[in-house]
């Protein structure tokens, strides 16, 4: 069984889908011979040719629109944003055109939008943004954010096979940092299912993406607290059942995300827990998030900006002792 990095798992997942389905093709900037800014599509051009590894002009709104049109005639485009931050340049086309398409005239838009995402890489305000809630709050698109190679491979496959728009978020800080054995031709992993990474009884800790790894690190420092750790894996639709079930067991919940605070998914989870498990709650739903600011460039500031392992430990202890 091959051991794959996070990046290789995504790459492998796309590769297998392209082998299996002629209608799957890639679009984006520099994804051909160069293999993409992060080399996620390295080797694809030689195997699948320039038509299925289509390099576009520097025009996100334009090539996203083209992807939608291609999907209308039965293709399954996988669109790479060189950094996910540039998805803002195609916002109208995604939010207004793609996300409403099935609703207004019954035409599904099986397009996968993907790209390097998130902070902790000293990349500054325009190459680090957490864009997930712009889309989780836009009805009509699914938002996926895996934290392990096997989940990444299974979920990119699920996105590509999905008949609705999917946004697949690839945390840059994980690309080459983590490895895992992932079987070839592995099956897709269902979108919308969270994963209980560790069982526990004192409190429920919910996170996703790169922050999952800081949560695990924090737990390593707190052998005395029994934490149930949940990896959302999908931001939209949220796995309400998994969240509620765990909270009913632990009676306490905290959410950790690197996204900014106001309007982050932690608030949504707080509301869900209130609606579905209020009587089980023995403490406030706690949020450990970034402040409402852009992502600063200087490492010294980004460290303060992002939730740290120490922050997670401190919050966990306070909630556990509450």
């Amino acid at each position: 069984m091959p051991e794959l990095t996070f990046l290789q798992a995504i790459s492998r997942g796309m590769w297998e889908e392209m082998e299996a389905d002629k209608s799957v093709f890639l679009m984006g900037e520099d994804i051909g011979r160069y293999g993409g800014a992060f080399k996620v599509t390295e080797g694809f051009l030689d195997r699948f040719g320039p038509e299925r590894v289509l390099e576009t002009p520097l025009a996100e709104e334009g090539f996203v629109g083209a992807a939608i049109g291609a999907a209308y005639v039965g293709m399954r485009p996988v669109v790479e944003f060189q950094f996910i931050d540039f998805i803002a340049c195609a916002f109208d086309m995604i939010a207004n055109f793609a996300c409403t398409s099935r609703y207004r005239w019954g035409q599904g838009v099986p397009v996968t939008f993907r790209g390097p995402w998130g902070g902790a890489t000293k990349a500054g305000p325009f190459h680090s943004r957490n864009i997930e809630m712009w889309f989780a709050h836009t009805p009509g698109i699914k938002v996926v954010a895996p934290s392990t190679p096997s989940d990444a491979k299974g979920l990119i496959k699920a996105c590509i096979r999905d008949n609705d728009p999917c946004l697949f978020l690839e945390h840059k800080a994980l690309y080459r940092r983590i490895k895992e054995e992932v079987p070839d031709n592995s099956p897709p992993i269902p979108i919308g299912k969270a994963k209980v990474v560790r069982e526990g009884g004192d409190l429920t800790m919910i996170s996703y993406g790169y922050m999952m790894h800081r949560c695990l690190e924090a737990l390593g420092q707190m052998k005395d607290v029994s934490v149930e750790l949940i990896d959302l894996r999908t931001i939209y639709p949220l796995d309400r059942a998994a969240i509620v079930e765990s909270v009913k067991k632990t009676s306490k919940v905290m959410v950790v995300h690197e996204d900014t605070r106001t309007g982050g998914v932690a608030g949504e989870i707080a509301a869900i827990v209130n609606e579905e498990a209020f009587e089980y709650l023995d403490g406030p739903v706690v949020r450990v998030t970034a402040p409402d600011a852009p992502v600063p460039s200087a490492p010294s500031m980004e460290e303060v900006f992002l939730p740290s392992v120490a922050d997670i430990v401190q919050a966990t202890r306070k909630l556990a002792n509450y």
Binding site: F25, E51, R52, L54, T56, P57, A59, E61, G62, F63, V64, G65, A66, A67, I68, G69, A70, A71, Y72, V73, G74, M75, D92, M93, N96, F97, T100, R102, Y103, R104, W105, G106, Q107, G108, P139, G140, K142, D162, N163, D164, G192, P237, R240, E275, E276
Partner: protein, 334 residues
Amino acid sequence: MKGDAPPRAVQLEMYYYLRLTRALDERAQVLYKQGKVVGGLFSSLGQEAISIGSAFALEKGDYVGPMIRNSGTVLARGHTARDVMSNYLAKATSPTGGKDNSQHFGDIERTGVISCISMLGTLVPVMTGMALGARMKGEKRVAMTYVGDGASSTGDFYEGLNFAAVQRLPVVVIIENNGYAYSTPTSKQSLLRNLADKSKAFGIPGYAGDGNDVLEVHSITKRCVEDAREGKGPQLIEFKTLRMRGHATHDDASYYPPGLLDEWMKKDPIARFEKKLKPTKEEKAAVEERLKTTVDDAVDFAEKSPPPPGENALQGVFEDDSIIQFTPWWKRDA
């Protein structure tokens, strides 16, 4: 660049569709004043020749993305008068089941008509993608769409057409230059006399024509459609015309300079075509008859159709409806 005019039988069909477009528009105006139209009503009065002439230039299997003033295109490509009227009234029987309104509907399989959204310019990249997808499937389909003089100022128009050019895709974009974007004169959109010159930014051919001459519209468009299909890449056409009503029914176009409407009245595309076509009494009677039954039936159908069930609001966001359907806390009985 003119091709030859279509055979008389086809011209009679074009005449019928011109008349049908206008007849439906007039009836829709009445329904609007009766408060029955959902959303704004955008008239194609005076611009019908562009929709009809261009629609008849397409082959079966081609794709077209009409905008709000292109009900003529939609009809000529095979949608029924019932489709048009019921969508204006947002009824359960409408092509969108009341989800969307106006000219926002289509049917990829049956008519090749793509539904637009309100954000102008967005269809240019999307139609480019349809041409791209079709080519990948080995099909020789042409994708055509329309923008107004205003919409030709959008980045979407630019990015979409440029992508089509680089890929040499069979895309035809028609600029309906009616001199105004809502109340804004074209002089506030561009310094260009001929918007067709925008083609020079893409290195593609650009043509201009009389938008009120249905045969000229047809021949120019037909040539462009053929060139596009033969692999000569995207084509840009500007047709000059005038919107003979306000932007939408609520607008009286009082910003038009005095005399402008009278001047263009003389260029009315239907009257002009009729002069050329000279339909016989019998032919005309047949058209009138066909019009009356079709239009009455469409209005009747639309009016009698039920509104969509309210619960449909929660259907069709995703393939799996359960994603958005659940009972909020306060609706559950304790």
